[in-house]
Amino acid sequence: MKAVRGKYFFGGVHPHDEKALSKALPTEIMPLPEVVAISTSQSLGKPAVPVVEKGAEVKCGELIAKADGPISSDVFASICGTVEDIRDEKGVGGATEKFIFIRTNGKKENAFLPPLADPSPEEIVQRIKDAGIVGLGGAGFPTAVKAAPRTPVDTLILNGAECEPYLTCDYRLMLEKTDEIARGARYLAKALKVDKIIIGIEANKPDCIKKFEAYEDILPVILKKKYPMGGEKQLIYVATGRKVGLGKLPADSGVVVQNVATAFAVCEAIEKGKPLIERIITVSGRAVKTPKNVWVRLGTKTESVIEFCGGEIHRPVKAVQGGPMTGVALANYEAYTHKTTSGILLMTEDEAAADEPTPCLNCGKCADVCPMHLMPMNTAFYSAAGDYEAAAKYGNTLACIECGACEYICPAKRPLIQAIRKTKAEMRKLQQGGQKK
């Protein structure tokens, strides 16, 4: 369908997008790694429970850990080989996670699920669940749960905004796998029983918009280039004009949002029976020799991905897993890739912000750019004083989506996100304490 322009939302920032580093590079498939370490905590919920023993032979695509609870997801072997070890290690976020180490045996045997032809909605949901698909945009919420909402919905929105600077993985995917994404979107729409499919794409990707205009059943919405345009609530508002209430799910407003990479994974899972074992990762930043968009198997060590991209040419000041606005800073290259790892960035001193914070000026810029219309400076002020309840009250911290726009714009370089996360954690503790009483 002919593309339409999206609505305007207040707030947001315009970081230098740096996508030119890796935008024009076609995706490459990384050679299979020797060892993979697959975390069992690949989604928002509880970690999956390992179902393989140490020393077991596994094939590529075989189930190695079973989901535990509704918002947990299955985990699959991403290469063929032997289970070398199952042990606890520090994950990227700093929390201890259970990792399953698999050493390759050189074979290339696949143990995929049987492909489905013309599946029913229930079959689609079941297959999404069986393939361990989670939201690949970054949050890692199991797609199967989203694909079977409790309230009826009327619109499916595909998120192709990719508003994070540097990242081009969704852009490359939309260019190279347009048809698969469209088919995946149709499967998702069928599962949701909706006939309206919208794809939101930022205006800096006109070629993607053009490609999706060719499909009669998909409506591309041109989004203004702005961060965080790809935030779920912002995207829903811009694309449909509906607001998602605080503490409500998008489904309550009749909308389900899925990332384009998720739609692609759904298509693969249904047509090829392939579980979620690989994804595109953008390796970028000015400290990397050759930035690339790479298909990487789950659980590959960061070090080998960087080696595949030619290693460092400058000394990085920051190594980031994910996008520069919401990603996690790595202490070393030991970290393993995750279902939600969208990028690996090595940033030089010029790019990465490592300034000392100066006193807050009360300029209010953080509140001006907040897409959720919060008051981050109040959160920072009260949490520094240790009064987390006041911080949550005057800053409305619990509604924060942690997009990082406030800290980006702050002229005093205050660590606002840190204060917000601290406040959220303390409030969670307080609420749990209150429940126990």
């Binding site: 209010g364 509140a367 219309h373």
Partner: protein, 359 residues
């Protein structure tokens, strides 16, 4: 391979290049036209006052930094290091304060008076409260008020106050039944201030007043610069001026008896002279918009500007004095209250009351 010099922090890992120092440099640049206009109109005295004030502010901040925290003797020993450290954290706020302070006093002020005022501004109003970002009231406004009360800057009231001074003439001779309601006198409103045209007031030619406040053109140049650099929001001074103009026009009007009924009459032609006279424009562009002492949220700022402007207009008509800096101090004191009670509704906010009643 990565070594231990890598920085680990919470996201975002990219930040804007804007810093506090950069913003304050922008403000200082925006003040330059006013400073130059002041020198052009008032000669070398204005230049001396500006330099004294800026240097006084910087020196006060440095001295305070030097003696305030950590042993004085220890700092004396490695004074070089301390100076370097001070320079690293120096954020230009005292330069801005010094410049503003010099621009809102008359050129007849003596240099030592300015020096005392700048020391008061920085040491007592800013540093005692915790330095940059922590001061309760605008340091420059407080410094000016301090000088006004201590040295009696009486010359200030002279001529640059515009039509508010003349309003008594407007009503003299008008008699009516009870003596409470003056009669409409045709043409009386515009006659007294015809000596000074709006253009004169705008350019500051032949107008007595404060160094930086006389040339409104220079202030407007600074205003445009600040808006282009996105230091202030364009609507803030505009709203202030609009509200101020209308309220002062209304306040200068009055109830008249036109023979058959009591009517409220006002002269809209008074709008421009009242806006262009005195230091209102300067205060609106450079002083009310001060980050530290204005509300954080947009709704709070709206309230702040509207109340501030209305209060200033009314008080100016009542006192026949330029009371902008007093109003700034008064409004500054209410800022924490405004911030506390005018809360912002988050995106997707659901009204709480309805659900409670439903229960």
């Amino acid at each position: 391979m990565i070594d231990n010099t890598v920085v680990i922090s919470t996201p975002p890992h990219v930040k804007s290049k804007r810093t506090t120092r950069g913003i304050m440099c922008d403000v200082a640049i925006a003040l330059l036209p006013c400073a130059i206009a002041g020198i052009v109109y008032f000669g070398w005295q204005a230049f001396v006052l500006e330099i004294t004030s800026v240097l006084g502010c910087i020196a006060t901040e440095f001295v305070y930094y030097f003696i305030a925290k950590g042993g004085f003797a220890k700092k004396c020993k490695n004074a070089g290091k301390v100076c370097k450290k001070w320079f690293c954290q120096f954020d230009m706020t005292s330069v801005v304060t010094g410049l503003i302070l010099a621009l809102i006093i008359p050129s007849t002020t003596r240099w030592y008076e300015v020096l005392v005022g700048s020391i008061f501004s920085i040491a007592i109003v800013k540093m005692f409260f915790g330095g940059t970002g922590k001061n309760l009231v605008n340091p420059a406004a407080a410094g000016r008020v301090f000088m006004f009360l201590s040295f009696a800057l009486t010359t200030y009231v002279a001529a640059n106050i515009g039509p508010t001074m003349l309003e008594s003439e407007l009503f003299t001779g008008a008699t009516n039944l009870s003596g409470l309601l003056p009669k409409v006198t045709e043409g009386a409103a515009s006659a007294p201030y015809s000596a000074m045209t709006n253009l004169d007031l705008f350019l500051g030619t032949g107008v007595a007043g404060c160094i930086g406040e006389t040339c409104k053109l220079a202030i407007l140049i600074g205003y445009v610069y600040l808006c282009v650099r996105k230091v202030i929001k364009w609507w803030q001074p505009a709203l202030f001026i609009a509200v101020f103009g209308f309220v002062s026009v209304l306040a200068m009007g009055g109830l008249f008896y036109d023979g058959s009924a009591v009517v409220y009459k006002f002269d809209i032609e008074l709008f421009l002279p009242s806006v262009l006279s005195g230091g209102v424009l300067f205060a609106a562009v450079f002083m009310f918009t001060d980050y530290v002492t204005s509300p954080k949220g947009v709704w709070g700022q709206l309230v702040y500007y509207v109340i501030g402007a209305a209060l200033l207009a009314v008080l100016r008509v009542l006192t026949h004095l330029e009371v902008a800096s007093f109003i700034i101090l008064i409004m500054n004191i209410f800022v924490p209250l405004i911030d506390r009670f005018i809360m912002r509704k988050p995106f997707g906010y659901i009204k709480q009351k309805k659900t409670k009643e439903g229960k």
